[in-house]
């Protein structure tokens, strides 16, 4: 078989999760097999699976878009079930699709009318910087967009991509699969996970020395798993670095709405590049998704990428790649449209929609603080605040005996710890090793997505388990 595939690692759904799944099934047959009644999944940013409710209005519009007219928007009873603005929005979306509806393949870059809405959203977000719908590709979540771009830039085993350490494993996994090299640059935990230019230059120089032809640079902002929100100047220095060394900047901006720290705002790479006078002068791709933010519509597989500064030949080739997959799923395209364009002020659903969004956001914000404070109160834990995204990435001091034990078992201490946590408490986290970290560091990633009561309990459980663990490996 393909050895690249064998070598690919995907920690978010790795050993700990598989164990969690098997515990779930054994709990079904024997509810008293473990000291808990169910698994708390904090391994993955999958909000709806841990109790977050979907926003009502987008679901109503989506349902109407899927229904044939006579049993949907034109049904005489439609107003009994659906608000007026949902009906109108559904009609608008249907008009973008011509007579084809949601059951036909669309243009390979996505439905034109929806791309225009996305372009408008980006212009508004960035304070008026122009966005051309023809540079937008609607994708199945951010993942397929990332896959397309990496596919187009990795030509052989000597091609490499700079990725942060720690990083979200989709990058390392895709690179392994494509047979390219990952070139890690360390984020500094002591400086709120920022990366210094010295570190970037060091990493690049070392890669070049090893014969790696570095093609691209991945920036995740807000960070995953690290949760930091980058300042404008931090982004600018990355942009200059990329431009200086002719690297394609992949800006993973899927958490752009998840910023909790009141002193921080999300600044897009496009905006920072414009301010630095660099927009269009180097290649940049920005990714967004319907899976995160407030929507959390992971199952929908919606998202987009925006290309700027590209050679038209290469852009045409990326179009070809998109067209070989025919098009991204229409439900995902529809959800992307609804994410970038909600009900207008004055519409029937405006207030309820905004309220639902605010409730989700405020609760996430509270949980971000509560969980990080809780973790920091445990002796041996150190955890930076989650300024943004959906994760905390604490560092855990491990007893030497546990480290030895892990070695003996042929695993790492992160995994040993995470499995112990899982079996003792039912909390399913991801070992930090799956994201990469500095040698000698140990820890895990947890989301703060489960509902508040459950999250409070989880904090207690983190604490009691840690004490048990220390006791065991004293």
């Amino acid at each position: 078989m393909n050895q690249n595939m064998r070598n690919m690692e995907y920690a978010v759904r790795g050993k700990v999760v598989i164990t969690a799944d098997s515990i779930t099934s054994s709990l079904k047959t024997n509810p008293s097999a473990y000291p808990f009644s169910k698994i708390i999944y904090t391994n993955i940013g999958n909000p709806h699976s841990v109790g977050q409710k979907p926003l009502t209005w987008p679901r109503q519009v989506m349902a109407l878009v899927d229904l044939p007219d006579d049993v949907g928007v034109d049904n005489p009873n439609v107003s009994k079930l659906f608000p007026q603005d949902a009906v109108e929005r559904a009609k608008e979306l249907k008009s973008y699709m011509g007579g084809c509806g949601t059951g036909a393949y669309s243009h390979s870059q996505g439905i034109r009318g929806i791309r225009e809405e996305v372009a408008e959203f980006i212009e508004k977000r960035d304070g008026g910087i122009k966005c051309n719908p023809d540079d937008l590709f609607l994708t199945n979540g951010a993942s397929t967009g990332i896959g397309h771009i990496l596919t187009a830039c990795i030509s052989g085993p000597s091609d490499g991509v700079m990725i942060p350490i720690p990083q979200y494993p989709i990058y390392s996994a895709s690179l392994a699969l494509l047979g390219g090299k990952q070139v890690g640059y360390y984020l500094d935990e002591n400086k709120e996970w920022s990366a210094s230019i010295e570190e970037l230059e060091r990493s690049l120089k070392e890669a070049k020395k090893n014969g790696v032809n570095v093609r691209a640079f991945v920036l995740i902002n807000p960070g995953n798993p690290t949760g930091q929100v980058l300042s404008s100047s931090a982004i600018s220095s990355v942009i200059k670095f990329c431009s200086k060394h002719s690297l394609i900047l992949l800006a993973d901006e899927v958490y752009q709405e998840n910023v909790y720290d009141p002193n921080k705002t999300f600044i897009s790479c496009k905006k920072a590049a414009t301010e630095a006078g660099m927009l269009g002068k180097f290649e940049m791709v920005s990714f967004h998704s319907t899976s995160k933010g407030i929507f959390g519509e992971c199952g929908r597989r919606g998202g987009y990428m925006e290309l700027t500064g590209f050679d038209p030949d290469v852009q045409a080739q990326i179009y070809k790649l998109a067209s070989s997959g025919l098009c991204s799923g229409i439900p995902g395209q529809v959800m992307t449209s609804l994410m970038v364009k909600g009900p207008k002020p004055g519409d029937v659903s405006y207030d309820s929609h905004e309220n639902e969004k605010k409730t989700i956001f405020d609760s996430l914000k509270r949980r971000a603080v509560m969980v990080s404070e809780g973790l920091n109160s445990i002796e041996g834990f150190e955890c930076n605040a989650a300024e943004g995204s959906m994760y905390l990435f604490p560092k855990v001091d491990m007893p030497e005996k546990a480290i030895q034990e892990a070695k003996k078992q042929g695993t790492n201490v992160d995994t040993l710890y995470s499995l112990s946590l899982l079996e003792a408490t039912g909390i399913c986290v991801v070992p930090a090793a799956g994201f990469g970290q500095e040698p000698g560091r140990a820890g895990f990633r947890t989301t703060f997505l489960p509902q508040e009561e459950e999250m409070k309990q989880a904090v207690e459980l983190f604490k009691s388990h840690h004490e048990q663990f220390l006791e065991k490996y004293k």
Binding site: M1, N2, Q3, M5, M8, Y10, N46, P47, S49, G51, T56, R59, M62, A63, L64, D66, V71, G72, N75, N77, V78, G98, G103, A104, Y105, S108, N132, D134, D135, N140, G141, S143, T151, A152, C153, S155, G156, I170, S174, L177, E283, C298, G299, R300, L307, G309, F310, D311, P312, D313, V314, Q315, A316, Q317, K320, S324, G325, L326, G329, P331
Partner: protein, 609 residues
């Protein structure tokens, strides 16, 4: 730096062979010795680009004319004569800059210069407002990008379609018969499916539990939506599901397969996918380990196979279907191609079988399926059975036989057959292409490999939930006696009857045209006629560096608005010329289309008489 338009547009010699086995040993030697081998490898699978570039002139910046000549001499057999003329004129008596030479090489190996320049023009047109403009040379460009992507071809959305989109933007009416996208050409979605889907997406208090739900939705729709919401669990349609898909849906699929085949099926072996394409991609990713790994594909074939193999850097080995025998294939043909491939040092890992055929429309008999299974079995080849048209069988007396059924019924003769079968919600009578639903079933696949496929699926998290719902609906419709059953049956049979009628009418109409011959469309959604055109047209195409069927298809498009796919995009016997057309547009449109085919063919022949 040369500009886009000034770049040389040169065609590619096809059918490179005889370099694979030599190439294997080659990586250990200095490259400059044998650029020919590297060039052959580059043409075949776009691997080792950098090595090829490095081999030119031993890495010097400027090449002497002797070096240029020596290189051209080496690569001559791989380049079309007219392309060579141009190169030699350019290179005669000149020292060439190495950078220039690299660029030229990229251009000299374009599949279809015309199409690429159209693509560039397509973007050039947008260029004024777009970020994608040639201001300064980019580091990521045609010669530095992944060459296996650059050299991947995808005909269904190629040059003719782009032209059609341009014409449409100019206001011309286009009939898209290039792609099996039924809803885009007037086929109505099936009401029951859409109603259940809509209810599944609505939060319960606004949907199934809404006091007035029954004013809009039939009772069996509500019941089914409830059942599905229970199956998905509290997280609803907005969460990732398990990587293989929702268990209950996989159970529905397994029951469907059991009822279809009369043989057991395990939900654990089912992977739900985004259409069949992503399943095919996952399997090929798992199979192609290096550049000597090959997949046997039918000629003609649906280009997803050739495109993905190119992208993954593997090799394709074609086996020709015999048009004179209803597009069937014999063991002898298969064996001959396998032997030839092995003699070239290739390792054939898999074989793709498309039944009913695309673009060829044949429905394989049980014996035909057995023959192919037996061949795979005997040679340790994994069979990829593309069965997305299994419900599209029109010819009286013909029946679909799944590879899985044949494999299990005749297990004693087919021991150890490794099989992956694909199905999709995009075709059949359901035609829900935009939904991206589908599944694959693994049969007798090594457990370790299967866990790796699972890992790959989990890196994509899961297939779209709406596609999963649609797949469950496709395999399990409304129950008899329910409120929706009659409407459902009526809608399905109308679609089926109409396809049957149109398949017959189109093939009959095409065969009545002098110079066009077309096999029966026993199944699928396509007719794949061959055409006879005057020599002058063939010469004109050559002059334009186009295939003759591209010239024909563009002429047809400009004249009639009919958008078909040139047959060369699917591969065909040497010297054959033709196109693929669907018969999906409504009856009256198809009737008009048949007349247009006739009128245009006569005009075309006259024009080039």
């Amino acid at each position: 730096m040369i500009s886009m338009t000034a770049r040389l547009g040169l065609g590619l010699a096809r059918g490179v062979s005889g370099v694979g086995n030599r190439a294997a040993a080659y990586t250990l030697r200095p490259f400059s010795a044998e650029p020919k081998v590297l060039f052959g490898q580059y043409l075949a699978n776009a691997r080792n680009t950098e090595m090829l570039f490095d081999s030119i002139g031993d890495g010097k910046e400027v090449l002497t004319k002797e070096e240029v000549q020596a290189f051209l001499e080496d690569v001559k057999p791989f380049i079309r004569p007219e392309a060579l003329d141009e190169i030699e004129a350019k290179a005669a008596g000149e020292c060439l800059n190495r950078e220039y030479f690299k660029k030229w090489l990229v251009l000299a190996t374009r599949f279809d210069s015309q199409r690429n320049s159209k693509m560039a023009k397509y973007y050039g047109m947008l260029g004024e407002q777009s970020g994608a403009v040639h201001k300064e040379p980019k580091s990521w460009n045609e010669s530095t990008m992944a060459q296996n992507l650059r050299r991947m071809q995808y005909a269904v959305r190629g040059q003719v379609v782009m032209k059609a989109e341009t014409l449409m933007a100019e206001g011309k009416e286009i009939i898209f018969t290039n792609i099996g996208n039924p809803h885009s050409v007037g086929q109505k979605p099936i009401t029951f499916y859409r109603q259940v889907l809509a209810l599944c997406d609505l939060p319960p208090q606004y949907g199934v539990d809404h006091p007035e739900a029954s004013k809009m939705f039939p009772a069996d729709v509500i019941a089914r939506a409830r059942e599905m919401q229970d199956a998905i669990g509290g997280s609803g349609t907005g969460a990732y599901t398990g990587s293989q898909g929702v268990l209950k849906f996989r159970q529905d699929i397994a029951s469907f397969i059991e009822a279809r085949d009369g043989q057991p099926c395990l939900p654990g072996n089912i992977f739900m996918t985004n259409g069949a394409s992503s399943g095919i991609q996952a399997i090929l990713t798992g199979l192609i380990a290096d550049m000597n790994d090959a997949v046997m594909i039918p000629i003609p074939q649906y280009p997803i196979y050739s495109a993905l193999i190119a992208l993954l850097g593997g090799r394709q080995v074609g086996y020709e279907l015999d048009e004179s025998k209803g597009w069937s294939v014999s063991t002898e043909t298969l064996k001959a191609q396998l032997d030839k491939a092995e003699a070239e040092g290739l390792r054939v890992k898999a074989l793709a079988m498309i039944n009913p055929g695309n673009p060829t429309g044949q429905v394989l008999s049980e014996e035909d399926v057995f023959t192919i299974c037996k061949f795979c079995c005997a040679n340790g080849i994994v069979l990829l059975s593309d069965e997305v048209y299994q419900r599209n069988v029109y010819a009286p007396g013909k029946q679909f036989h799944s590879a899985k059924k044949v494999a299990m019924e005749r297990e004693s003769e087919l021991r150890n057959l490794q099989l992956v079968s694909f199905h999709s919600t995009s075709k059949g009578l359901i035609g829900e292409c935009g939904r991206r639903g589908g599944y694959m079933e693994l049969y007798n696949i090594d457990t370790f490999v299967q866990t790796q496929i699972y890992k790959l699926a989990s890196a994509g998290l899961c297939s779209g939930v709406n596609g999963q719902i649609m797949t469950s609906l496709m395999v399990k419709g409304p129950e008899e006696g329910g409120e929706s059953f009659d409407l459902f049956t009526k809608e399905e049979s109308e679609i089926m009857e109409s396809m049957k009628r149109k398949a017959k009418m189109l093939v009959k109409g095409l065969n009545e045209i002098d110079g066009i011959d077309c096999e029966d469309a026993e199944g699928a959604m396509y007719a794949f006629p061959r055409i006879q055109i005057p020599q002058k047209a063939i010469d004109a195409a050559r002059k334009k560096k186009q295939s003759p069927d591209t010239l024909y298809a563009i002429s047809l498009l400009e004249d009639t608005g009919l958008c078909v796919v040139p047959a060369s995009g699917f591969g065909q016997a040497d010297g054959r010329i033709g196109f693929r057309t669907t018969f999906l547009p409504p009856d009256d449109v198809m009737e008009g289309a048949v007349e247009d085919f006739k009128r245009h063919h006569e005009k075309f022949c006259e024009q080039y008489a």
